[in-house]
């Protein structure tokens, strides 16, 4: 569900303008980041969405309806809300913490149990051990996973997250971010995520909204922000090594090309058969999948054109490196460098080929950015 902010404004007291006529749309099923210096209005903006803070003027539209048309309690129960670990209830077990909203919604207990176990699994928490522990018995990272699980408990379409990983040490924060990216791949929620860490923003964000003193300075896709910062303020925020840094942080999963050609390998498939298929396209090479639709390798058109047409194709399949959707573009780039490939296939956990990352696309993406970091 998309969330539209229309001329959204918040004035505290007489004259503290915390949010100044902000217009933007958080896209459906995307992670949108709110970033900016302390006091720029990120939290205020976020909390106006679930009406923990009432706006002064303007409107917020979710799925075509103003949030005022929905009862405030119902609105909040339909939106996941995740804050730093202090938000967990110390007197409740992990299970009960996660079960809060489903219980408010009066789900039957067996459905709640099933859902909690499912979420523990999703969050990589041990379903035998963890549900009956209390927050004090967990590490910071584990607490935060429980916090995210709790936000997702009633399967809301929208998740609001206010610096959820802010209190976690850098190493564990990286791990949580990686896990979070993979979770979003599975759950596809509309997520509004507040942070003041630019690395986190680039790494997690599909879109980034940059705030300064209550005003929206820029709101664009992450790569656009990196390539075309709206002004000096944004450029400073990104830092001087933004090119290399963003390449390290931006994940393959948003930037691969789904336009590729693959052949399914069978015992009987000959070079001739394969060529006939390839010739229907203007491809120079084709990926080859085995019977289970897993990546077996690739064949180069020019090479097999010279081969005996009745040869089984299997003989000519070359192995290839592949890359996971959650890898960074920098990893993709270095893989190309070391393997000499001009494109690497993107293969997910289940072994399915999702697409390819091409060198030319990377060049285009980072073309306008100084990769040496000397600007």
């Amino acid at each position: 569900m998309a969330i539209e902010l229309k001329k959204l404004r918040k004035v505290y007291g007489e004259s503290t303008v915390a949010v100044d006529d902000v217009d933007l749309t958080f896209e459906d099923k995307k992670i949108s980041i709110l970033i900016g210096p302390s006091g720029c209005g990120k939290t205020t903006t976020l909390k106006m969405i679930n009406r923990l803070i009432e706006r002064t003027s303007g409107d917020i539209i979710i799925d075509g309806r103003s949030i005022d048309e929905i009862g405030v309690i119902e609105l909040r129960r339909s939106i996941g809300y995740v804050i730093q670990e202090i938000g967990l209830f110390p007197h409740m077990t992990v299970f009960d913490n996660i079960a809060v909203v489903p219980r408010l919604l009066k789900w039957p207990e067996d459905k709640i149990k099933k859902r909690v176990m499912e979420l523990l699994d999703l969050m990589n928490l041990d379903p035998d051990e963890h549900p009956y522990k209390y927050p004090v018995q967990l590490s910071g990272g584990q607490k935060q996973r429980v916090g995210v699980a709790r936000g997702l408990a009633a399967d809301p379409e929208i998740l609001l997250m206010d610096e959820p990983f802010g209190a976690i040490d850098p190493i564990n924060r990286e791990k949580l971010q990686d896990a979070f990216i993979e979770i979003q791949e599975q759950i596809n929620k509309t997520i509004v995520f507040v942070t003041h860490d630019i690395r986190e923003a680039i790494k997690l964000g599909d879109n980034i909204a940059i705030f300064n003193e209550g005003k929206l300075v820029q709101y664009d896709e992450t790569m656009t922000v990196i390539n075309e910062p709206a002004d000096d303020f944004v450029e400073n925020l990104l830092g001087s090594d933004r090119g290399l840094r963003s390449m390290e942080l931006v994940r393959v999963h948003d930037h691969y090309d789904t336009d590729f050609f693959a052949l399914e390998l069978t015992e009987k498939l000959t070079v001739g058969d394969a060529l006939k298929e390839i010739e229907k396209t203007d491809r120079r090479y084709a990926y080859v999948l085995n019977e289970k639709k897993r990546l077996a390798g690739y064949v180069v058109r020019k090479k097999i054109e010279k081969a005996n047409k009745s040869d089984p194709l299997k003989k000519h399949v070359k192995e290839t490196e592949s890359i996971h959707p959650s890898s960074s573009l920098l990893e993709a780039m270095s893989l190309m460098m070391t393997s000499g490939l001009s494109a690497v296939p993107v293969v997910d956990d289940r072994g399915r080929v999702r697409g390819v990352v091409r060198f030319s696309a990377l060049m285009e993406m980072f073309g306008s950015v100084d990769l040496t970091g000397s600007d």
Partner: protein, 220 residues
């Protein structure tokens, strides 16, 4: 020692009556103080009323230093003597630690936690029942517990305004310079105070969430 047993043997009925009076003054004033005290603590710490809660904390904090005899004397001046004034005086006196502890427990529930609860769609009543009260159980119970101990001891003074109780035995002993009779009143007072405290500590263990007990443990 023998003399003590003799006292009980010859005054069993009288002793039991005094014990009964003692326990009823205690139980009645204590129970009322729990109910009223918790209501005051809760009412003064509702959202938007935290200032009242904090003011109340200061007041009750100070009043804890007022000696019980003064409270009893004051109530006595206004309401005369007997069972009811004694219950009233002890009620007021027990109210102080109960309100103080409960209010400080409720005031110190982290704002982040309450906000998380609100953000998840709990109503104010649900936040109170599911978050604030359970998280304040240790503080609330410690107030109730100290009120009980103070109350049982102080009930002995109630005899001074003619309310009966074990204090009457103690006062008789004092008047007659009879150490045995003083002990005959004082020992059961101490024992009941200890017993009630032991029972309450068991209750406390049972109703305090294990999560909070562990947190307490970790802090030490």
């Amino acid at each position: 020692m023998q003399a003590l047993f003799d006292y009980y043997r010859y005054n069993m009925e009288y002793f039991l009556i005094k014990l009964g009076e003692h326990m009823s003054i205690f139980a009645l004033s204590w129970a009322m103080a729990i109910v009223v005290g918790l209501l005051i603590a809760i009412a003064s710490t509702r959202p938007g009323r935290m200032k009242i809660g904090n003011a109340l904390l200061t007041i009750t904090g100070f009043s804890q230093a007022v000696p019980s005899i003064a409270v009893i004397a004051l109530v006595f001046i206004f309401t005369g003597i007997g069972f009811r004034p004694a219950v009233l005086a002890l009620f007021i006196y027990s109210l102080v630690p109960i309100v103080f502890n409960a209010a400080s427990g409720l005031v110190s529930v982290s704002p982040g936690m309450k906000e998380a609860a609100r953000g998840m769609g709990m109503t104010n009543g649900q936040i109170l029942r599911k978050v604030e009260l359970p998280a304040s159980v240790p503080a609330i119970l410690s107030g109730i517990r100290s009120a009980a101990t103070i109350n049982i001891g102080t009930t002995t003074i109630a005899a001074a305004i003619g309310a009966g109780g074990l204090g009457e035995i103690i006062f008789t002993g004092i008047r007659n310079f009879n150490f045995t009779i003083i002990l005959a009143g004082a020992i059961p007072t101490a024992i009941t105070a200890i017993l009630v405290d032991v029972v309450l500590s068991v209750v406390e263990k049972r109703v305090t969430s294990k999560g909070l007990q562990l947190a307490e443990h970790w802090r030490e």
